[in-house]
């Protein structure tokens, strides 16, 4: 075998060689923008230059055929430059308004929905799941495909009070992050330990240290050094699983899905907010997770009907209050909604302000 090649540690590449010429020319000198229609952004530079951005949905995990098809479209109907957004949508940039419609027609014809701009529901930010991760309780791409089929209309139209950012994650680690709506795995039973494997596979002190509630103790089980879990303490978070695969947390039955709302990253109007638990105990029902889709649609319907323009999910709920949220969505409020984690005091209603 040939001698090993020495890498060039070049890091993050300079984007200018790949950037649309109009964007290069007007870099840092943009004046304003508007949205002629859903899926299209129109930015005007101080120089007077204009650029139209057409945004389309993809499956993120793309086969080369799909990518090449997008490239063909980009060459024929756009100007050979594209971007991928934070949410894995593709953006085509064109220098004149009259290129927009043909491009949209072509994209739709080839099965790429045009939308995801402004106050629409954009692509769901998601993760790896059964396709590639080593610790997933469910799939990622499949959940997203199933949901986006249901939310197709909302992706292509701007009918929501504000942008809706949805995320899914295939374990409680939650690589998908915070979202206006977040759909995450929630385990409901402590891990079952494969004691024969612990000794060879796991650094026991590391695993013990990972547990957020100190529920794991080193133990000798049938002669071998292993671990034991205090099931009274265990909150079934699965944090012990990555460092120690024998601590089987994933379970086809007891690994459920939970739904959270009100996560927000922007500092726009309200400060950034974490998403809050609203529903749990939903079955991990591959391949299309209908029960999850049901709840998500209930929440979106209430938000769409009741929120005021520009109110993000968390801002809407802050105004109408949680009692009303549960009323409007018909979701049950349980003792599990009341936080008991560190600092939970701050989540209690420390006032005489109540709603009826």
């Amino acid at each position: 075998m040939a001698e090993l090649r020495h890498p060039t540690e070049s890091g993050a590449p300079d984007p200018f060689p790949y950037m649309h010429p109009i964007m290069q020319k007007n870099y840092g000198k943009w004046a304003w923008h508007d949205r002629p229609r859903p899926g299209v952004l129109h930015h005007v530079a101080k120089s007077g230059d204009e650029i139209w951005t057409i945004k389309a949905g993809t499956q993120r995990q793309m086969d080369v055929y799909t990518i090449r098809k997008l490239c063909d479209i980009g060459d024929q109907f756009a100007e050979g430059r594209v971007r991928f957004t934070t949410r894995s949508n593709i953006e085509f940039m064109v220098s004149s308004a009259d290129k927009v419609d043909a491009l949209i027609t072509k994209l739709e014809a080839e099965g790429f929905p045009v939308g995801g701009t402004g106050n629409s529901i954009s692509m769901i930010s998601h993760t790896q799941g059964w396709l590639h991760c080593d610790i997933p309780g469910t799939d990622a791409s499949g959940v997203v495909k199933a949901l986006m089929d249901e939310l197709y209309h909302e992706f292509k139209h701007e009918e929501m009070p504000n942008r809706v950012k949805i995320t899914t994650s295939c374990c409680q680690i939650n690589c998908g992050g915070q979202g206006d709506i977040a759909i995450n795995i929630q385990h409901t039973k402590p891990p079952t330990i494969n004691h024969d494997l612990v000794a060879n596979m796991c650094e026991r002190p590391t695993v013990v240290a990972r547990c957020p509630v100190a529920a794991i103790r080193p133990a000798i089980v049938n002669g071998k050094p292993s671990l034991e879990v205090d099931e009274k303490k265990c909150v079934c978070c699965g944090a012990c699983f990555p460092p120690c695969p024998p601590m089987q947390i994933n379970d086809p039955e007891h690994s459920k899905l939970a739904i959270w709302v009100g996560g927000k990253h922007s500092s726009t109007r309200s400060k950034p907010a974490f998403h809050k638990l609203v529903a749990a105990g939903l079955p991990n029902n591959a391949p299309r997770w209908p029960e999850v889709a049901e709840v998500v649609k209930q929440i979106l319907a209430a938000y769409k009907a009741d929120a005021r323009p520009w109110e993000r999910m968390n801002e809407w709920i802050d105004r109408i209050g949680w009692p009303r949220f549960f009323e409007l969505t018909g979701l049950p409020f349980t003792k599990y909604h009341v936080d008991n984690w560190r600092g939970s005091r701050n989540s209690l209603n420390a006032s005489a302000q109540v709603r009826f």
Binding site: T188, C236, C237, P332, T334, K335, W341, R355
Partner: protein
């Protein structure tokens, strides 16, 4: 011949200025040569001046009480009795006032007479917990003073690890915002739990306070373990004619700036015809708009109370506000008052059994979690108890379906109940 007045150059500086001077008052007492307390008050002034000079306090506690009671007297023995022998003892009796702090001049005069016979002639209306504080007497006169006051219909207040003297706002007696009978609620709970006040044996002090509305004029939310505040379930009452008068008189900008934009939940809006529209579903009963337009707005008719538990000062985990454990209950019928007393006694019992030594209700709840407390005292969870649901996934939820069923059942019930 009469004992000399102590030199009090520092205290004397507190006799100048327009505000009523307690020093002048102390001197008057010290100079009442015909009174038994004169010499005691001379030495008290002496010791106080000494504190001002050295910037240190010189009292220590001890055990002094009245027959049959384990608390209600704050004993004070001087550490500088050698210098100021006549105020070597300076105990305080804590006496519970009429709920709402109403007095006839006649009653006040009687109290003065008692305290001239048995004490220093110094009385505080009131302590921060609401007691009348008869300040300054010796061990022997603690009993005789109490006996006379007790004959007049007055009783000792709280101290130590027990139930404390309570306060209720003026409320129904003179306030249109009052949503329940504050003094009745106070007396229902306090006068049925006196054993825990007079012979304290709880893990730590426990306070009850009663405010007729969210304005909370007795600071119940923060300064009591068990806060009862008035509220209402139906719509705010609006007299649109009066609204128009306000707007006509003060202008639209005033209405927008001082009412509309001040509503914490954006529930108020000003119609083009200068009437008000209120989104009562979003209203949190904060009282603001009602406070501003007293003539035009008032609490609804379906009045009741909200109960908060756990308010306290800073030891040893930091200040706590009370948090909602009963979002709403009616307080009209005898049954309602019995239920209130039942909730109070359940909380006291749970506190007695579950709190650690020197731990207040709020600290206990912080330690065991609100849900365990609610289950312990038999109160159902409600979204009004949280400012938001949990934001972390560190919880075991395998009982989800059962809990969800409970909620549905209750909602069904409620729906049925609300005829």
């Amino acid at each position: 011949m009469a004992k000399e007045m102590p030199k009090t150059p520092l205290l004397d500086e507190l006799e100048s200025g327009p505000w009523p001077s307690f020093v002048t008052g102390l001197k008057r007492l010290a100079q009442s040569e015909d009174k038994p307390y004169a010499s005691m008050m001379k030495d008290l002034l002496g010791q106080l001046e000494h504190s001002y000079e050295t910037r240190k306090g010189y009292w220590k506690g001890g055990t002094v009480g009245v027959f049959g009671y384990g608390a209600g007297v704050i004993p004070r023995f001087s550490e500088v009795a050698d210098k100021f022998p006549d105020s070597s003892e300076f105990h305080t009796l804590r006496i519970q006032p009429p709920a709402g702090m109403h007095y006839t001049t006649d009653l006040l005069r009687q109290m003065c007479d008692v305290w001239e016979r048995h004490g220093s002639g110094l009385i505080a209306f009131h302590g921060q917990s609401g007691d009348i504080m008869f300040q300054g007497t010796d061990t022997e006169h603690v009993q005789s003073a109490f006996d006379e006051l007790n004959e007049m219909g007055f009783d000792l207040g709280g101290a130590g690890a027990g139930i404390r003297t309570s306060m209720s706002c003026v409320g129904a007696a003179r306030c249109e915002q009052s949503c329940f009978d504050e003094q009745k609620a106070l007396r229902t709970i306090i006068n049925n739990t006196l054993d825990d006040m007079h012979r304290p044996s709880l893990p730590y002090k426990m306070k009850f306070k009663f405010s007729g509305c969210a304005n909370d004029c007795v600071n119940a939310t923060h300064r009591s373990d068990f806060a009862t505040l008035g509220t209402w379930r139906d719509d705010i009452k609006i007299d649109q004619a009066e609204v128009k008068n306000y707007v006509a008189k003060n202008g639209r900008k005033w209405a927008i700036d001082q009412v509309v934009t001040m509503c914490p939940t954006n529930a108020v809006s000003l119609n083009d015809d200068d009437t008000l529209a209120i989104d009562n579903k979003s209203c949190v009963r904060c009282m603001h708009c009602i406070n501003v337009m007293t003539k035009a707005l008032s609490p609804g008719d379906d009045k009741g109370i909200t109960i908060l538990i756990g308010g306290k000062r800073t030891l040893k985990i930091g200040d706590l506000m009370g948090t909602v454990v009963v979002p709403f209950m009616k307080l009209e019928t005898d049954e309602d008052y019995e239920r209130l007393l039942e909730i109070a006694t359940n909380v006291i019992e749970f506190f007695a059994e579950n709190a650690l030594d020197h731990e207040r209700t709020g600290e206990m709840i912080e330690r065991i979690g609100l849900v365990n407390f609610l289950e312990g005292v038999g109160l159902p969870v409600d979204p009004n108890m949280v400012s938001h649901p949990r934001a972390n996934s560190y919880v075991r939820m395998d009982g989800w379906d059962e809990e969800a069923a409970k909620w549905q059942a209750r909602k069904g019930g409620a729906a049925a109940a609300a005829e």
